[in-house]
């Protein structure tokens, strides 16, 4: 079969002979694993989605701004390939929460990147709830530093509540915005310390990419490439000799009792291929990884591959958004850029059994963006301009990210009643949120209201316990632990059941903390790559 093209576009999508490592997924996790291994090993990366043309980014930006398009349209999510169910207590909008394609969800992401706090690694011991991680901050610290260099993080060591760090950030922090300075004053009055935000976007030219030019559409697309996305490391790894096959949908992991033998994938023309390799790294994100394991059930693993623990798919968590917004009587100059430049982690480590960790974010994009508002409504001409002037102006908002504890009844399963276009059961996200998180949202709202009151703002919206939503971080569904009866992967991210299968994803997080996950995903991906390298060298 080798040598024949398998796609209408004429690209060769046949398996790579003699591959050492097969990585499933070309988001940041897969790209970083592949990049680290490509110089010394034959690496192949399979991704379900396409290679997007970088020249199309302005067209995608237009989709981001125009009312005719929904968010998933920007990166072509939401067709029969991406069908899903959400039969939990709360609806989960899965296709708003991920991108399939080379670069993965970082094509759409916001790019806030922090390290977990030290106590996040031992929630059970320090906060009295949830499991401890089998790793601690010190184990990850060198990998965090490397991940920051990989992303070109712009930041400053000014967060008095953050974990200790030794090295400076690769790029200087983005300075505070005008509205940040208003918030800083109000927070000072209230005794709340504010600080900068580490951003995976270039404040200065870095790694061959230019500095941020202020398009302001970071989420869902940065046309300039100043925001990091995983295409950066996909290109690097290809330069080192790895093969990246796009539109290769892995549908099953063929296996014996102890090893994966091949990743079975379907090319766009419907041809099925088998990619063999010595080692496999699953990096398809926190929903598709458990789905793939469940789809790969066999006589030996009747409940799903690598699932002797029965933990595959369980303990699905996301971060919850809490927010309060309002209006000031003075201009706050919002929507110039699409990222956040001030936060407060002041309340993070007050977490205990009853209150979760959370961080506050001071938004730079509160209220409507005039250009988007201009395209909706029944008016034009002077009337429209009047409406735009009235609605733009004094908006302010404080958001928060809140930890959710893992629970058995919050899980990703298969919906046997519904299949995708290849005939495979779709993922069903049963999302359930517990009382500790809901209580914490209320607590965050109280602080947010205090800050807005101090500012003199009139509050006009609240995202509280009843109206909270997910932050699109898919954690917990193949949790890491020492005990094979309770966890799916060990602290080297190798599955307990299979000796040649590693998982690089937030799916291995035992608990989520309250920071955005991707820097930790990257650090773990680098750790997993080292473990794979060691195993390959050992077996040579």
């Amino acid at each position: 079969m080798s040598g024949t093209a398998s796609g209408a576009d004429g690209r060769d999508r046949t398996p790579v002979p003699d591959a050492d490592v097969c990585v499933v997924g070309a988001g940041p996790a897969g790209a970083l694993v592949a990049d680290r291994l490509a110089a010394d090993h034959e690496v192949v990366v399979l991704d379900a989605g396409p290679r997007f043309n970088p020249g199309d980014r302005l067209d995608r930006q237009e989709r981001a701004v125009r009312p005719a398009y929904d968010r998933p349209d920007v990166w072509e999510m939401g067709g029969p390939r991406d069908a899903h169910s959400a039969s939990g207590e709360r609806f989960y909008p899965l296709n708003h929460a991920r991108v399939k394609g080379v670069g993965g969800s970082t094509l759409h992401w916001q790019g806030m990147v922090m390290r977990l706090h030290e106590a996040d690694f031992s929630s059970g011991t320090k906060r009295g709830v949830g499991p401890n991680w089998p790793l601690d901050y010190a184990d990850l610290r060198p990998y965090y530093a490397e991940a920051e260099r990989a992303f070109g993080v712009s930041g400053a060591d000014d967060n008095p509540f953050g974990p200790p760090r030794e090295e400076p950030f690769p790029n200087p922090a983005f300075p505070p915005s005008h509205s940040d300075s208003l918030f800083a004053e109000a927070c000072e009055e209230l005794g709340i310390a504010t600080h900068s935000v580490p951003n995976a976007r270039n404040s200065e030219p870095y790694d061959g990419r230019g500095e941020c030019v202020g398009y302001g559409t970071c989420q869902p697309v940065c046309p300039s490439g100043a925001k990091y996305d995983a295409t950066v490391h996909v290109e690097d790894t290809e330069r080192k000799g790895a093969t990246v096959i796009d539109r290769a949908r892995v549908t099953e992991l063929a296996h014996g009792p102890d090893r994966i033998e091949a990743a079975v994938y379907v090319a766009p023309d419907g041809t099925e291929h088998r990619q063999r390799a010595d080692a496999f790294v699953l990096a398809a994100g926190g929903v598709e990884i458990p789905r793939l394991l469940l789809l790969s059930a066999s006589d030996h693993y009747p409940d799903g591959l690598a699932n002797s623990s029965d933990a595959v798919g369980r303990y699905f968590t996301d971060h919850l958004f809490a927010g309060v917004g309002g209006v000031l009587e003075e201009p706050t100059r919002q929507n110039h850029v699409g990222f956040v430049t001030t936060e407060s982690h002041q309340f993070y480590d007050e977490a205990d059994e009853t209150v979760a960790p959370f961080k506050l974010e001071f938004l730079n994009y509160a209220g409507p963006s005039p250009v988007e508002l201009a395209m909706t409504g029944d008016d034009w001409g002077d009337e429209l301009l009047g409406r735009l002037r009235e609605s733009y102006g004094g908006h302010v908002a404080v958001g928060a990210l809140v930890e959710q504890l893992p629970r058995e009844d919050s899980y990703v399963g298969l919906d046997d009643g519904r299949t995708d276009d290849l005939g495979n059961p779709v993922p069903d996200v049963h999302w359930t949120v517990g009382d500790r998180a809901l209580r914490t949202i209320e607590r965050a709202n109280e602080i947010q209201r205090d800050i807005l009151a101090e500012l003199g703002a009139e509050v006009n919206w609240t995202a509280g316990p009843g109206s909270t939503g997910p932050a699109y971080h898919h954690m917990g569904t193949t949790r890491m632990g020492e005990d094979p009866t309770e966890s799916v992967v060990d602290p080297t991210l190798c599955t307990h059941d299979l000796e040649n299968c590693w998982i690089a994803s937030s799916s291995v997080f035992p608990t989520g903390g309250a920071v955005n996950p991707t820097l930790t995903i990257a650090a773990l991906a680098l750790l997993a790559a080292d473990a794979v390298d060691e195993a390959l060298v050992r077996s040579l």
């Binding site: 020249g55 199309d56 302005l58 067209d59 995608r60 930006q61 237009e62 701004v65 125009r66 009312p67 005719a68 983005f174 300075p175 505070p176 915005s177 005008h178 300075s181 404040s203 500095e211 941020c212 030019v213 202020g214 398009y215 302001g216 559409t217 046309p223 300039s224 003075e330 201009p331 100059r333 929507n335 110039h336 850029v337 699409g338 430049t341 730079n364 963006s369 005039p370 250009v371 988007e372 201009a374 395209m375 909706t376 029944d378 008016d379 034009w380 001409g381 002077d382 429209l384 301009l385 735009l388 002037r389 733009y392 102006g393």
Partner: protein, 174 residues
């Protein structure tokens, strides 16, 4: 407030321009302002309705913008031309003149009678929805994603415009 060719270039930089915005911007810089094609006349006539009175210099702006958005062989440009044709057909049928030859109030009325004011934009939608998408909202996006359009509202660096990383830091009076 005066719109400039720089605004048009900025607006083109802010949106997809079919064959690629970088190319379009280059072409715009290289080509002298020439005779307006009939399509451009119609777009200018529509802009006179949907842009606020404060905006001046709209001919050069719309012309420069439309050369790329309406003149190419891509789907978007074809959509703009088809929408313009529909507007002209309706103008001929209901007002006995081409859209661009109508008085501004009549143009306004015609668009409203077509239902364009209450239509939500949709590239594959009804006639009104397509006119809203390809003509009215295309023009509004061009204006309000440009520095001058942003300034009108009070935002120096509107979403979609690469206006750098200084303006977000400045206070309203600095």
């Amino acid at each position: 407030m005066e719109l400039s060719r720089r605004d048009a270039i900025a607006a083109l930089g802010a949106v997809g321009a079919g064959a690629g915005a970088a190319y379009a911007v280059r072409e715009l810089n290289d080509s002298p302002p020439g005779e307006s094609s009939p399509d451009v006349e119609t777009l200018i006539a529509a802009a006179e309705v949907v842009y606020p009175d404060e905006v001046t210099g709209l001919e050069g702006f719309v012309e420069a913008y439309a050369r790329r958005r309406a003149a190419g062989g891509d789907d978007h440009a074809r959509g703009v031309r088809a929408a313009i044709e529909t507007m002209d057909d309706r103008a001929e049928a209901w007002y006995d003149a081409a859209f661009a030859d109508l008085a501004t109030e009549d143009r306004d009325s015609l668009l409203r009678e077509m239902g364009v004011d209450t239509a939500a934009e949709a590239p594959d939608g009804s006639t009104a929805e397509q006119v809203r998408y390809y003509v009215v909202n295309d023009l509004l996006m061009a204006l309000y994603a440009s520095p001058t359009g942003g300034e009108l509202v009070g935002i120096g660096n509107p979403r979609g415009h690469p206006g750098g990383t200084d303006s977000y830091r400045r206070g309203p009076r600095s």
